[in-house]
């Protein structure tokens, strides 16, 4: 008994040494897979641009996001007749510079995506780990609760949650995180249950690893690949859903330059001022598309087994 413990302990140590050596190689391998997918690389650069814009919005924006120019209401873009070079993408109905608002809007979208992904992954991983390790009645209860959440269309659930919590950007993010959570719970639980049948877990258990160590150090790192892919895709879902809530008037409140809320303001000018409508939506589409492209590439690179031809 004692001998086998020592033996498995040794095996584990040498495994650790191997993974430690493998780290830089893994990153390079990941990049070489990722690079094969042209779309993913384009998506990555666009996303990087979006992050830089979000970070530097206050330096590159020509005007403030809520600054009003009363003598320049609904100016068309600079290249159209009646446009002004002072407002490259025109102004909205109360004379705010569209370009500046769009640049600041990137900040909100990035923030929304980040917060939602962090909230939903951390909660989902924790609950999924508990369900996967506990099995039995606790697992059943958790999974039934997740079924209930999944039975309600996510946008509707988010709307109702916001109706309870009150309309604001923070509440919208919490609501979206709750609607995305079940996906992480299911993913984590099923990979945990799969990993638990493997020998290395048994050996760690025999070596005397505690429950928390088994959960977070032994098993979790091996379940991360699908979760990371889901995380990338949730980032874009979060941006889309938050924009939809903003558009319906229960997300970010005016005068916040959030892209969805900007679109809501623009609805009455649909037939008069195309630029007020077109640009915020285009910004949402490009960002979401870039992230989805990147997510596809991540999936291919992290899980070559799933690689679609």
């Amino acid at each position: 008994m004692g001998g086998s413990t020592r033996k498995s302990g040794r095996v584990k140590l040498s495994e650790l040494a191997q993974t430690a050596q493998a780290r830089p190689g893994m990153l390079r391998e990941f990049w070489s897979y990722f690079r094969e997918n042209t779309g993913a690389v384009i998506g990555f650069w666009v996303f990087l641009f979006f992050v830089v814009v979000a970070a530097l919005a206050n330096f590159i924006a020509p005007h403030g996001p809520v600054e009003q120019f009363r003598d320049a209401l609904l100016f068309p873009p600079a290249w159209q007749e009646g446009g002004s070079r002072k407002f490259p993408l025109g102004t909205d109905a109360v004379g705010r510079d569209m370009l500046s608002r769009l640049l600041y809007g990137a900040r909100y979208s990035f923030f929304i995506g980040l917060v939602v992904v962090v909230l939903s992954t951390s909660g989902g991983i924790l609950i999924g780990l508990i369900a996967g390790f506990a099995r039995g009645w606790l697992d059943t209860i958790i999974m039934r609760i997740m079924d209930v959440i999944l039975a309600i269309p996510s946008l509707l659930l988010a709307l109702v949650l916001v109706a309870i919590l009150g309309p604001s950007l923070i509440n919208a993010m919490i609501a979206i995180a709750i609607t995305l959570q079940p996906h992480y719970v299911r993913l984590t639980r099923s990979s945990v249950m799969n990993e638990l049948t493997k020998d290395y877990v048994t050996s760690a258990r025999v070596a005397g690893a505690g429950l928390l160590r088994l959960m977070f150090v032994t098993v979790l790192p091996n379940c991360l690949a699908p979760i990371i892919v889901q995380g990338a895709l949730s980032f874009s879902t979060a941006i889309l859903d938050a924009a939809a809530l903003g558009f319906l008037g229960v997300g970010a409140q005016p005068p916040t330059p959030e892209w969805g809320a900007m679109l809501a303001d623009s609805r009455e000018f649909v037939l008069r001022a195309w630029w007020v409508v077109t640009f915020p939506g285009l910004a949402i589409l490009i960002t979401v598309l870039a992230i989805n492209l990147m997510g596809d590439g991540l999936r291919d690179a992290l899980d070559p087994k799933l690689k679609r031809s």
């Binding site: 039934r144 209930v148 039975a151 309600i152 874009s236 969805g260 649909v270 409508v277 939506g281």
Partner: protein, 335 residues
């Protein structure tokens, strides 16, 4: 097969109970007293307050309240709207045909374009058509549909003046609801131009609501087709000298459709969520617009009842798809 169906039905019940608990809890976790909200800005006398408290059963213990609520739900009693004073159940079924009509058209649109596109993309895998189609599908999948709706309105209603901006039919026409489906009712009414008007009103909402399902179905059909095309029996069919049409259309597509059926089932939730946005933009008098209006009007019994009905519809569709899946794919039943 019977055991499989039974086990699926058994997981349906706890989920249904969970949904009723959520919708029951909804009105009770709201900030503020529901009775004061209902009274509105006029306020309420203490006697009337007490009266309403008893009338709505808020004075009873919480478990008994839930039990009464559950019994009511099972008998089709979802409470009464604060605003219209009509039963929520009746309102739901008056408006539901509009959403069903729109969703059905969107699904037909998505299938009619998505299935052939996915099949052709798989056959010409890696070629220009495949790449162009998959790029388009990814764009469709990433589309903020409320913006897409506004763009289509600018183009088709603004510049080209082809389609109307809102509603289900031109105000010139009036006839009684028979089925609640405007396409059918307008035909029955026999009024000249009514059907045409209904169709024109349907076009843009159908495209908007069908866009994401279209993208998902095209992608799913393509990958299912690719998987099937590499199977041995397809190679055998080729070796036998069957025509490509017979191979692709008959042998491969039939088996490729199995995973696609599941995706279609999963799309119902997406459709109902999309209906909220689409109906709001096009002033389409269906369930989605009703929910949004009720949330902004704080008509909580409607939100509560609508939430439950929508969840139940999604659950019933998922159950049906699960059962169908077991029926067309015998491998599942055993597991």
């Amino acid at each position: 097969m019977f055991g499989f169906a039974l086990s699926r039905l058994l997981t349906f019940i706890p989920t249904f109970i969970g949904v009723t608990i959520i919708s029951f809890a909804f009105i009770r976790v709201l900030p503020g007293d529901p009775i004061i909200v209902m009274a509105g800005e006029r306020g309420i006398t203490p006697e009337r307050y007490q009266e309403l408290l008893v009338q709505f059963g808020f004075d009873k213990p919480i478990l008994q309240q839930y039990w009464n609520y559950l019994l009511g739900v099972l008998q089709g009693d979802l409470g009464v709207s604060f605003v219209t004073k009509k039963p929520v159940w009746d309102e739901f079924f008056t408006l539901f045909p509009a959403t069903l009509e729109l969703s059905t058209c969107a699904m037909i649109f998505a299938l009619a374009l998505g299935l052939p596109a996915g099949v052709i993309a798989a056959i010409y895998r890696g070629k220009f058509f495949d790449r162009a189609l998959m790029t388009t599908a990814l764009i469709g999948f990433s589309m903020p549909i409320f913006w897409w709706a506004l763009l289509l309105i600018i183009l088709f209603s603004g510049w080209l003046q082809w389609t109307p901006v809102s509603g289900r039919i031109s105000v010139m026409f009036y006839f009684d609801d028979v089925t609640g489906f405007m396409l059918i009712d307008s035909l029955i009414s026999g009024q000249k131009g009514a059907f045409q008007s209904a169709v024109y009103h349907l076009i843009l909402p159908t495209i908007v609501l069908g866009t994401i399902p279209l993208a998902v179905i095209a992608r799913q059909t393509r990958s299912a087709m690719l998987e099937v095309l590499s199977e041995d029996y397809v190679r055998t069919a080729r070796a036998k000298g069957l025509s490509p049409f017979r191979i692709n259309g008959l042998h491969a597509l039939r088996n490729a459709l199995i995973p696609v059926v599941t995706v279609i089932g999963l799309m119902v939730g997406t459709l109902l969520a999309g209906a909220i946005l689409t109906e709001t933009i096009f002033s389409w008098p269906g369930i989605g617009k009703w929910m949004i209006d009720s949330i902004t009007r704080r008509d909580y019994p409607v939100v509560q009842g609508g939430l439950m009905m929508i969840a139940v519809i999604v659950m019933i569709v998922n159950l049906t798809v699960d059962l169908m899946y077991g029926w067309i794919n015998p491998k599942i039943r055993a597991g």
